[in-house]
């Protein structure tokens, strides 16, 4: 059958395009196949991830409990040491009074001066020990710093646990970057811990600044 000129022209055009029309389909199928394999592999990988991530999340409350126990234990231990120090301080006050009375009595009895000097020397030594006891007390303030750091770590762990659970739910190793960028409480606490480490003032610097404000 004879074709009209435009129809023949159209057929020629179709014949010309035929090889390029088949190629995209094949390529598309190949890409879809590749994508399906990628999704399959990713799903398997993600399912492997979710178990340890889930397990880690479940361990975090335990870690928090351990940290809080650590705080309680240091607090109890510190109070125990303080109790002993306070007992010795009270005892020193009592002994100090007795030594004062003894010195007075020796002076009244007009005994050898070197004996009185010895008693006074004992009083001086006792006073030096009082200073050491006070140093022990103030050194125990480490517990307060430990407790504050523990509190911050517990808050951070709480936030990390929350994030990990979110990751488990949404298969989120891909969310890592988003989590990293998050400006949550944990981030803030970490910054505070870092800042304390890097830029904390000592008393001399604080005094220098105070001086600038007229504190003499």
């Amino acid at each position: 059958m004879a074709q009209s000129r435009p129809a023949a022209k159209a057929k020629d055009a179709m014949d010309d395009e035929e090889p390029t029309e088949v190629a995209p389909d094949t390529k598309l199928y190949e890409e879809l196949g590749e994508l399906a394999r990628f999704i399959d592999t990713t799903m398997k990988t993600l399912s492997e991830f979710s178990v340890p991530v889930s397990a880690s999340s479940e361990q975090l409350p335990q870690a928090q409990t351990h940290l809080l126990n650590l705080k309680t234990q240091t607090e109890q231990g510190t109070h125990r040491v303080m109790m002993e120090v306070e007992s010795i301080q009270d005892n020193h006050v009592h002994v100090g009074k007795m030594l004062k009375e003894l010195t007075h009595a020796l002076q009244q009895a007009n005994v050898a001066p070197n004996l009185i000097q010895q008693v006074q020397k004992i009083t001086q030594d006792l006073n030096k020990d009082d200073k050491r006891l006070l140093d022990i007390m103030t050194a125990l303030s480490f517990q307060d710093l430990v407790a504050q750091s523990v509190n911050k770590l517990v808050t951070i762990l709480d936030e990390v646990e929350h994030k990990l659970l979110q990751l488990v739910v949404v298969f989120g190793p891909y969310q890592k970057q988003a989590a990293k960028n998050d400006q949550g409480k944990a981030n803030e606490m970490l910054k505070q811990l870092e800042a304390t480490k890097n830029t904390s003032m000592n008393q001399d610097l604080a005094d220098e600044i105070l001086k600038q404000f007229g504190f003499n």
Binding site: H79, M82, M137, D144, L145, Q203, A206, L210, F215
Partner: protein
């Protein structure tokens, strides 16, 4: 004006160990009329209910922070003249500036020594 050894002093800190340490130092310095509070809110209640001559306070506490308590003290006609010494681990310059602006009487950075505290108290009550 030298510090009156009989004045009532309020020690404010959420950590029991720190309250005990500060009270011990104050005792050794001759102050025996000591009270304590666990946070700024409790401290304000006590300050309003009685007459205190001096407040030693931490910064970082639950319920009400030390800096907020300081602002509340300075804003209260009855309490505003009470000297407040901040004893704190908040050791950033910004914290110190904030405390100065809020009207702190002096500032001690933890960890501290008894000598530092004595020196600061002497300066406040000179």
């Amino acid at each position: 004006m030298p510090a009156d050894p009989n004045m009532k002093i309020l020690v404010v800190d959420d950590m029991s160990t720190m309250r005990r340490i500060v009270k011990n130092i104050l005792k050794q310095l001759g102050f025996n009329n000591l009270e304590e509070a666990e946070n700024g809110q409790e401290a304000l209640t006590k300050l309003k209910a009685d007459t205190y001559g001096f407040v030693v306070s931490d910064w970082n506490m639950p319920v009400m922070m030390g800096i907020d308590m300081l602002r509340a003290i300075r804003a209260d006609e009855k309490l505003k003249k009470i000297p407040v010494l901040m004893v704190t681990a908040e050791a950033q310059k910004e914290n110190l500036m904030e405390a100065v602006q809020a009207g702190v009487s002096n500032y001690v950075v933890k960890p501290f020594t008894a000598e530092t505290m004595q020196e600061k108290i002497s300066k406040i009550f000179k």
